[in-house]
């Protein structure tokens, strides 16, 4: 392990010459659009498998609940 002593200090402008965090909400729409454009595929990769699996499981259980109606229908027609 080598501990390195830093030989620098940060300089700042005086408060009269700078604005602090003035860019936080600036161009928020543009920033949001860029974030969506960069990450939509990753978000889809995350959400689609989870949502589709959950939907499938719920659909399967619903079909299972209604399975007796299908049986009855087949019995009557058969």
């Amino acid at each position: 392990m080598v501990a390195v002593r830093l030989r620098e200090v940060a300089y700042t402008w005086s408060p009269m010459h700078q604005n602090i965090m003035n860019g936080l909400w600036k161009d928020a729409a543009v920033k949001l659009r860029k974030r969506v454009a960069d990450n939509w595929s990753s978000a889809l990769t995350l959400v689609v498998p989870v949502a589709s699996t959950y939907w499938y499981a719920e659909h399967f259980r619903q079909e299972e609940k209604l399975h007796h109606r299908t049986l009855e229908k087949n019995h009557r027609s058969g």
């Binding site: 392990m1 501990a3 390195v4 002593r5 830093l6 030989r7 620098e8 200090v9 940060a10 300089y11 700042t12 402008w13 005086s14 009269m16 010459h17 595929s41 990753s42 990769t45 995350l46 959400v47 498998p49 989870v50 699996t53 959950y54 499938y56 499981a57 399967f60 259980r61 299972e64």
Partner: protein, 563 residues
């Protein structure tokens, strides 16, 4: 000048200073790097609340449930301690899981940080054991969960049943089990704290990773105050999130059956562990054979341990690994699905989904050795690199400096290129502006000052030059440039050295040229309240004589000064 107390130079304090205050940290760490310190905070919260809870808790089969109710109702602040401890465990696991997934995404497990990763997996294992044995045994869900999990040990051939009996301290989960679980539950957090210190020591051997996954040694800043403040922001956000659960929804992460005293004669319809165990529980249940399920759990941790050693990619961060990026999100989706499956009953379609999700989990680790090589081959075969070279500006040294001189004709009056150096010559009047431009402009970003030196040409009338050696931490070329401010006349601090040395060279004893060691442009700017972009050279610490070129080179200490 920033003062350093002499106490920071004493043995123990100097270690703390080197690792917590002046520790060099990559300047581009995002908030995803705050989860490490948050995990430490959670551990401290658990230890403190746990110690105070232990003052009132009674680990006896007849009194345990009632003692917890006593804490909740009668002990002053007992409800807060209990809810902080219970929800603190959940918070601890949320923070640690996010920390792990951050490491997976940015390749923090990759060489040379294998030891850091392995120690992290050890900490995770210790946390799981601690949380399991601290879940209590005299509540309905805790009792049956402990019965199920401890009886898994019977899957071990030959000695399995003996081990289970030893764990229980009898033939079922009873008073003996409660005591022998409570004791290590008190001890293990301190073991975790020791492991966390080792984890930090291993990390500090090579330094933190960063979102780009590249070597960051050219651009590091002190941990204090920058990341102290950044972590503080994370801590405050965590405190708000934690408080919502403790004060508004303290039981939402728990199971309502745990408000029923344990009844060995009544088995709950669905036995589920706490939420943070659900993914592993789902993998366990996906294999119908008991031994197979236990082996699958073991394989999960073996895979985590082995990950740094099976990784073949030379690119760390998933920001630059498109296939791995998609696999990472699929892994995360898979883990979420496993967590959901873990709390579902063992019936169709959850069984099939759980089995597929378990295979998917191990698929990520199985494909890791192949993936790195596949991505490397795809990059080699692609035309992306060639296209980028054609499109980007400042392609090579010559065009970069041509563009720079064309952009700043007034500030740069000469450019000299040798084999290893690119030298821009400027006038002291424009030195500040040129340095500021080179440091902050998007296309230049020479943000690192390697050194400042003065050059004395005794044979010249205007003897002195000050040379700034700049570096930029990008893969673009050029990454180094020298800025030479010529035509300087006076040298106050160099007077004696320059005069003594120049006597070997010239006989001009009466000439005392002086060079102001403060940057001339800086002095002008200071009067206007604007600071120099870098520190000010102060004292000479080395002098070299270049006889061939007939000049002296003075290297300066870069000192700190207040603005």
């Amino acid at each position: 000048m920033v003062r350093r107390l002499s106490i920071l130079k004493q043995p123990i304090f100097s270690t703390l200073n080197n690792h917590l205050i002046d520790y060099p940290t990559p300047s581009n760490l995002s908030y995803w790097w705050s989860f490490g310190s948050l995990a430490g905070l959670c551990l401290v919260i658990q230890i403190i609340t746990g110690v105070f809870l232990a003052m009132h808790y009674t680990p006896h089969v007849d009194l345990a449930f009632l003692s917890v109710e006593h804490i909740m109702r009668d002990v002053k602040g007992g409800w807060l301690l209990r809810y902080m401890h219970a929800n603190g465990a959940s918070m601890f696991f949320i923070v640690v899981y996010l920390h792990i997934f951050r490491g997976l995404y940015y390749g923090s497990y990759a060489s040379p940080r294998e030891l850091v990763w392995c120690l992290g997996v050890v900490i995770l294992l210790l946390m799981i054991v601690t949380a399991f044995i601290g879940y209590g045994k005299l509540r309905q869900m805790s009792f049956w969960g402990a019965t199920v999990i401890t009886s898994l040990a019977s899957a071990i051939p030959v000695v399995g049943d003996t081990i289970v009996t030893w764990l229980w301290g009898g033939f079922s989960v009873d008073n003996a089990t409660l005591n022998r679980f409570f004791s290590p539950h008190y001890l293990l957090p301190f073991i975790i704290a020791g492991a966390a210190i080792l984890h930090l020591a291993a990390l500090h051997q090579y330094g933190s990773n960063n979102p780009l996954g590249i070597n960051s040694s050219v651009d590091k800043i002190a941990f204090y105050p920058y990341f102290y403040v950044k972590d503080l922001v994370g801590w405050v956000a965590f405190a708000i999130f934690f408080s919502i659960f403790v004060f508004y929804a303290p039981n939402v992460l728990g199971h309502p059956d745990n408000y029923i005293p344990a009844n060995p004669m009544s088995t709950p319809a669905h036995i589920v562990p706490e939420w943070y165990f659900l993914p592993v529980y789902a993998i366990l249940r996906s294999i119908s054979n008991k031994s197979g399920g236990v082996a699958a759990i073991g394989l999960v941790f073996v895979s985590l341990f082995a990950l740094p050693f099976i990784n073949t990619s030379y690119v760390r961060s998933s920001s630059f690994r498109l296939i791995h990026q998609k696999l990472f999100w699929l892994l995360l989706a898979d883990c979420l699905l496993l967590g959901w499956i873990g709390c579902q009953p063992v019936e169709a379609p959850y069984v099939t989904i759980g089995q597929i999700a378990s295979v998917g989990f191990f698929f990520y680790f199985a494909i890791t050795p192949i993936l790195g090589k596949l991505e490397a081959r795809l990059i080699q075969n692609s035309n992306v690199c060639e296209d980028l070279k054609k499109k980007r500006r400042f392609v090579d040294n010559q065009s970069f400096f041509k563009s720079l001189i064309a952009t700043l004709p007034k500030w740069i009056h000469q450019f000299q290129k040798s084999k290893h150096e690119n030298i821009l010559y400027t006038n002291p009047d424009y030195l500040f502006q040129l340095l500021w431009f080179l440091k902050y402009h998007t296309n230049t970003r020479f943000q690192v000052l390697i050194d400042i030196c003065g050059v004395d040409h005794p044979s010249r009338k205007r003897r002195f030059e000050v040379v700034y050696n700049l570096l930029r931490a990008t893969a673009k070329s050029p990454n180094k440039v020298l800025i030479c401010a010529k035509q300087m006349r006076r040298c106050r601090s160099l007077q004696r050295d320059g005069h003594d040395l120049s006597n070997r060279y010239t006989a001009r004893d009466t000439q005392r040229d002086e060079l102001p060691m403060e940057n001339i442009a800086c002095r002008e700017r200071e009067s206007q309240g604007i600071a120099n972009p870098w520190a000010i050279p102060n004292r000479v610490f080395e002098t070299q004589l270049n006889g061939e070129k007939k000049l002296f080179i003075f290297f300066f200490f870069i000192c700190e000064r207040e603005v």
